[in-house]
């Protein structure tokens, strides 16, 4: 498979670009924030995503979805990144769908997702840094399990209908599909720097049926995380790309010392270096998406994509702010939002260091 978008994929990109830029530009995020919105995204927008079919992008056609792959999902996510659109798309339509696919729970949740009603959240992290240690306990109880423990950094965790919860059973790791309405579950929503809302969740003996288990062993969690990390990488590419565009635009327009600052060689070289890093990151992401879609072993490509986009987009926002000078520091200008979102995405599902370390371990050192 050549490492670029097919004509169909380019067409999808045009559609997604127009739609997201029109319906959820940065001003949309800004207005949610300024209104002190407590949901963290617009449910209307989520339904519009459904109307376009986006919420079913990974759902098989036989189950009413578009039956497309991670390349296509990434195309939508990149536009979400470019516009900083608050959306449960990544957690719901990508990660949750990927985890539910082929399980008994798919029939229960896919219709709501296809309709743009159901929202899913991912309850994975237990400490301030993402890591492989899961301590939330799932004990056998009745004809199911009882969950006890806590989670944090759960985007949409307070507004979701469905929580995908990584837990520890007697037999090892397992992934649970827990309805948000379950008794004993409390969600403590926290606004983050990028105006998104992530919850701290407490599971106080939450009782679930046996069929809440959607995967035992590491496989299900790994599949969910691969989808989530690749998605976050695509979103980072969007954030970094938009930052570069904004910065290049500013360099061409801002005058100092009687010249457009984009004519200064030092800034040109830094911009060219940044462009290179972002292009390389983009390639790494597309590679991971394609491998996920062909069903090959994508573990390393996924880690690579997340690690590389973390590097490239972090550089993009740093250079973006510095090259803009004072105006980039103002809340009125959009650039700061990009820096904040980049930071959150870089941290999400493991940062560059986490994945680089994982790759080193996988390579035997």
């Amino acid at each position: 498979m050549p490492l670029y978008h097919t004509d169909d994929q380019s067409l999808l990109r045009d559609t997604a670009r127009d739609f997201v830029a029109e319906h959820a530009p940065v001003s949309h995020l800004r207005s949610l924030r300024d209104a002190n919105d407590t949901t963290g995204f617009s449910r209307d927008l989520w339904r519009e995503f459904a109307t376009l079919g986006f919420t079913g992008i990974l759902i098989p056609e036989a189950q009413g979805g578009l039956g497309l792959g991670h390349v296509e999902a990434g195309i939508v996510l990149e536009e979400i990144g470019r516009n900083l659109s608050p959306s449960p798309f990544l957690t719901t339509a990508i990660a949750a769908v990927e985890a539910l696919k082929g399980t008994a729970q798919a029939d229960r949740w896919f219709p709501g997702i296809l309709a743009g009603k159901a929202v899913a959240a991912l309850a994975i992290d237990e400490g301030r840094k993402h890591n492989a240690r899961i301590t939330l306990k799932a004990e056998r109880a009745g004809n199911g399990y009882r969950l006890t423990g806590s989670k944090q950094f759960v985007h949409h965790g307070h507004a979701a209908d469905l929580l995908l919860v990584a837990a520890q059973t007697d037999a090892g790791t397992a992934l649970f599909a827990v309805p948000a309405s379950a008794t004993g579950l409390t969600a403590d929503p926290e606004r983050l720097a990028d105006s998104s809302i992530a919850a701290r969740l407490t599971f106080d003996g939450v009782q679930v049926d046996a069929d809440a288990v959607i995967g035992e062993g590491d496989a299900a969690l790994t599949r969910l995380l691969a989808a989530a990390r690749t998605g976050a990488s695509a979103e980072l590419v969007g954030v970094g790309g938009a930052t570069l565009d904004m910065t290049i635009g500013y360099l061409k327009q801002r005058k100092q010392f009687g010249a457009v600052i984009g004519s200064f060689q030092a800034l040109q070289h830094r911009a060219a270096h940044l462009y290179s890093e972002l292009e390389v990151a983009r390639a790494a992401v597309l590679k991971a998406q394609q491998l996920l879609d062909t069903g090959e072993n994508a573990a390393q490509a996924v880690a690579l994509a997340k690690a590389m986009t973390g590097l490239a987009t972090t550089l993009a926002v740093q250079e973006g702010i510095q090259m803009h000078g004072g105006i980039g520091m103002t809340d009125e200008y959009d650039l700061g939002f990009y820096m904040k979102r980049a930071r959150v995405l870089a941290e999400l599902f493991g940062d560059t260091n986490f994945h680089a370390d994982a790759l080193a371990q996988a390579a035997g050192y």
């Binding site: 992290d125 400490g127 301030r128 840094k129 993402h130 944090q152 950094f153 926290e190 606004r191 983050l192 720097a193 990028d194 105006s195 992530a198 005058k255 100092q256 010392f257 200064f264 030092a266 800034l267 972090t314 740093q318 702010i321 510095q322 000078g325 004072g326 980039g328 520091m329 103002t330 809340d331 009125e332 650039l335 700061g336 939002f337 820096m339 904040k340 930071r343 959150v344 941290e347 940062d351 560059t352 260091n353 986490f354 680089a356 370390d357």
Partner: protein, 383 residues
């Protein structure tokens, strides 16, 4: 016992008696800083006590002459005082752009009347100053500034707009660059002082990405400024501004030096993944070496050995370090550090400070400007 040893002993005793215990605890937030001014804000009454006691001895500005409210200390005594203050971890009795920026410029360029008028009030924290340099179309390029001061006999009429005026909304007076001659670029700029309560001054705070508003836009609409408030010669304000920028740069570069216990080391000790640990370890090499550089710079400055453009190097290096420090702190803090409003995160202190540091390499002359200065004035590279 040498004179200096004796001075140290006396200072130590005096500080033990006069520095309130509350003023030896670390500041919890920016609100704990003492800025003085006509409408001073004190989070704790001991702030005022501590300021008054220090000002009484002239020790808010220990090396200024006594007639201007200073302590009249020698460089050696000043160093000892600072060491003794650091020893007991005393808080700064007075944060002040008047001390760190304007004062040195007045000492060098002002008339005797101006010195006697302004310096003692600065020393006692009675008047809070702000700086009016940057304009919407004159950021890095100060020579492009347009705020005009027209000659109206015994006063100027000032019209125009400044941006990035630090704490203009809290300041009593402003030191300000104005254009007094439109025919030349750098040559036509003058340095004036005026009261922010003057008619025609209006202020609009700028909300920053950190969620705070330490800077303002400041507008001047036919503001009357007495000619007696001109510092230095007419049309030679550029010299004053350059001199003063050097001091601003030093102050900002000081941010590279973490004081007291180091939150980054604390974070590392709590456990960081191996790659972050490696990054912190390498950062610490530069950070600690820069501490040595700061000592060296101050020593050279005192001895008159420092290259006049060395403050640019200090400002460049120190601010870049500080940005890196907070990137590392954010990485160490993980998702905890991303919270923006929670009590647990002290209202998003980590993230807000991280975002604030991004301005370090912009304000007071961008890193790019400092590199230009180093290249041209120290390395003698051609334009």
């Amino acid at each position: 016992m040498s004179d200096l040893d004796q001075f140290r002993q006396e200072t130590r005793t005096w500080l033990e008696e006069n520095c309130p215990p509350t003023m030896r605890t670390p500041m919890r937030s920016e609100k704990d800083a003492t800025w003085g001014g006509r409408n001073p804000e004190y989070a704790h009454p001991d702030q005022k006590l501590w300021l008054d006691r220090m000002a009484e001895r002239g020790w808010t500005v220990p090396d200024w002459p006594t007639q201007y409210g200073g302590g009249g200390l020698t460089p050696g005594e000043t160093k000892i005082l600072r060491e003794e203050l650091a020893r007991i971890r005393a808080r700064n009795p007075l944060n002040s752009f008047g001390i760190s920026m304007l004062g040195p410029a007045l000492l060098k360029y002002a008339t005797e009347e101006q010195k006697l008028e302004h310096l003692p009030k600065i020393a006692r924290g009675e008047i809070r100053w702000c700086q009016g340099y940057s304009e919407p179309n004159a950021g890095s390029d100060l020579a492009g500034l347009q705020t005009s001061a027209e000659d109206a006999g015994d006063h100027f009429i000032v019209n125009g707009q400044k941006v990035w005026t630090s704490y203009a909304d809290k300041a009593d007076w402003i030191f300000c660059l104005v254009r007094t001659d439109k025919s030349s670029k750098q040559g036509g700029i003058s340095f004036v002082l005026f009261d922010m309560a003057s008619e025609g001054v209006s202020i609009k705070p700028i909300l920053l990405i950190s969620g705070n508003s330490p800077f303002c836009e400041t507008f001047f609409d036919n503001v009357k400024v007495p000619k007696a408030n001109l510092v230095g010669e007419l049309n030679k304000g550029w010299d004053v501004a350059k001199y003063l920028l050097g001091h601003e740069r030093e102050m900002i570069s000081g941010m590279g030096l973490g004081a007291g216990s180091d939150p980054l080391l604390d974070a590392a000790r709590k456990g960081a993944d191996p790659l972050l640990r490696a990054q912190i370890a390498l950062f610490q090499v530069r950070s600690q070496a820069f501490k040595a550089m700061s000592e060296r710079f101050i020593d050279e400055l005192k001895a008159g050995h420092a290259h006049p453009a060395q403050p640019s190097m200090m400002k460049y290096y120190g601010t870049e370090l500080n940005k890196t420090r907070h990137e590392l702190l954010m990485a160490a803090g993980g998702s905890d550090a991303l919270e923006w409003e929670s009590e647990r995160s002290h209202g998003g202190a980590a993230a807000r400070t991280w975002l604030r540091t991004k301005a370090n390499s912009i304000e007071g002359g961008t890193s790019e400007i400092q590199l230009n200065i180093i290249a041209k004035r120290i390395l003698d590279l051609p334009s």
